[in-house]
């Protein structure tokens, strides 16, 4: 569901496709509820190995991240620092991953491409970015680590299933219509880049 509190738009799990329908690229959101870290090898296991994901992420959120965890007593864990990792690494797996798992919100860093945009459009999902490098802001939004699965993958790659409160800010990079913020921005960036290259090249003819 969606709620508004303290001027913030907050997605609360479980999330439906309808909840995401009027969210557009560039919107700023927050997330409360179930968020599971999930990155390279976990994607590979689900998509290439066909293994069932041991944490149910259907209608919930995943985070492309490898956190720093401190083990506590009785198989409990503390989230010390957590921030997003480059989402593009998961691009080749994401369409099948979304199709298989039914995840609704993918939190990560930087843009993703047409595979993910197609998944967002076909299955009602969004990709959002949390400003990266802000691992303490993100960690203090984690109320509890509820489960840890696929621990054989080591600390960064374990599926850490977290209960979060107002996790964000999350900026929408791909919306459920399939519009892609970074890809649209890249067209502007490349145009300006070409202009600048031309300008600089006139000034650096050092070999004569």
């Amino acid at each position: 569901m969606v709620k508004y509190e303290n001027g913030k738009k907050i997605l609360v799990t479980p999330i439906s496709a309808e909840d995401l329908a009027d969210i557009k690229i560039g919107d700023i959101l927050y997330l409360s509820g179930s968020l599971t870290t999930c990155r390279d090898v976990a994607h590979r296991r689900v998509v290439e190995e066909g293994r069932e994901i041991p944490v149910d992420v259907r209608n919930n959120a995943i985070l492309h991240a490898g956190p720093i965890i401190r083990p506590l007593e009785n198989d409990k864990f503390e989230m010390v620092s957590v921030g997003p990792t480059t989402s593009m690494r998961m691009e080749k797996f994401e369409y099948e991953f979304v199709k298989t798992t039914g995840v609704r919100v993918i939190v990560g860093k930087g843009g993703m491409k047409e595979n993910t945009a197609a998944a967002c459009k076909d299955f009602g999902c969004i990709h959002v970015v949390i400003p990266a490098g802000n691992a303490v802001v993100a960690a203090v939004a984690v109320e509890e680590i509820e489960r840890a699965e696929w621990r054989d993958l080591g600390m960064p790659e374990t599926l850490w299933n977290c209960r979060v409160k107002e996790f964000g800010p999350l900026i929408v990079s791909i919306d459920s219509q399939g519009r892609n913020y970074f890809e649209e921005k890249k067209i502007e960036y490349n145009k300006r880049k070409d202009e600048q290259i031309e300008k600089i090249c006139k000034e650096v003819k050092f070999i004569k």
């Binding site: 300006r192 600048q196 290259i197």
Partner: protein, 299 residues
């Protein structure tokens, strides 16, 4: 102090310093980010900068690494041949990383290649990386520490251009990297460029360039001019914080260079993210130390 006590003392100090650099950014980076933040006017870059500054405050207050990717540790050592611990240095730096990993804590970032398992200790075959510059007739030891995170390691690239491509080719090589990979590498970036002969000479220089303070310039006038041209050019692309758009893209461009073979121009680019966790410490022969990157640190 006996020799063994000195080794232990230096190990402890380096472990503390490494841990500290994961929690607080160097003075020059904070100053530059403060300046860039004040120049942004749109809502999105402002929200992002606000988050960044709140994060750095919380990291110090809660005594935690400010970014979860505490990188593979890299050390650039400029060691005098008369420094009493020269024989022990490489082993003690590895031990310091293990110690820092459990005390700070740092993320376990060493995956053995081919066997493909995480060592769980943040060190492995050849990690931490230690580069040596041997300084004759000196009994001092200077160490640059750097946490090379995955995100800002990805844009790294080196190539060898034909001389016909000239510095125009260097320009294009660097600029293309900014819009393909740079925008995902946590801008505003510090961009390091190496210009030399071959891929490895250029690549090492490009990393060395990232150790230089923000706002410093190459001593060659033309190289310094090119630093400024690239800085202004990349800023004009308007990547903004996190590559999501804004008035600026970089904290600076640092170029390091050597002479080259007449038939080749080796060029490499390496970037540091906004969370540029670089440290610099200088030890004398009695292990008295001076830290140049961060004010107010006691080890």
């Amino acid at each position: 102090m006996t020799h063994e006590e000195q080794v232990k003392r230096m190990t402890d100090m380096m472990a503390k310093f490494v841990g500290f650099t994961g929690k607080k950014l160097p003075d020059d980076v904070i100053a530059k980010l403060t300046e860039l933040r004040s120049k942004e006017t749109e809502a999105m870059p402002k929200v992002i900068y606000d988050t960044m500054f709140r994060n750095q405050e919380l990291a110090v207050k809660l005594d935690r690494p400010s970014c979860q990717d505490t990188g593979v540790l890299q050390f650039w050592v400029k060691c005098g041949t008369g420094f009493p611990l020269i024989d022990d240095l490489e082993a003690l730096l590895k031990e310091a990383v293990v110690k820092a990993t459990f005390e700070t804590p740092l993320r376990h970032n060493s995956v053995e290649t081919f066997d493909e398992y995480n060592t769980g200790r943040n060190v492995g075959k050849g990690t931490p990386t230690v580069w040596w510059d041997i300084v004759p007739h000196s009994d001092k030891c200077e160490i640059y520490t750097y946490m090379a995170g995955g995100g800002c390691t990805l844009p790294g690239c080196a190539t060898v251009l034909m001389p016909g491509e000239g510095y125009e080719g260097v320009t294009k090589f660097v600029m293309d990297r900014m819009t393909s990979y740079g925008l995902n590498a946590c801008p505003p970036l510090l961009v390091g460029v190496g210009v030399a002969t071959s891929v490895e000479t250029a690549a090492l220089l490009s990393k060395k360039a990232l150790m230089r303070p923000i706002g410093s310039h190459n001593e060659n006038e033309r190289a310094a001019k090119m630093e400024k041209l690239l800085e202004d050019g990349i800023n004009a692309i308007g990547l903004g914080p996190q590559g999501m758009g804004g008035k600026y893209s970089v904290m600076g461009v640092n170029i390091e260079n050597t002479a080259r073979h007449p038939s080749a121009i080796g060029v490499a680019v390496n970037v540091g993210c906004w969370s540029h966790r670089r440290g610099h410490i200088i030890f004398d022969k009695d292990l008295n130390y001076e830290i140049t990157t961060h004010t107010g640190v006691e080890l």
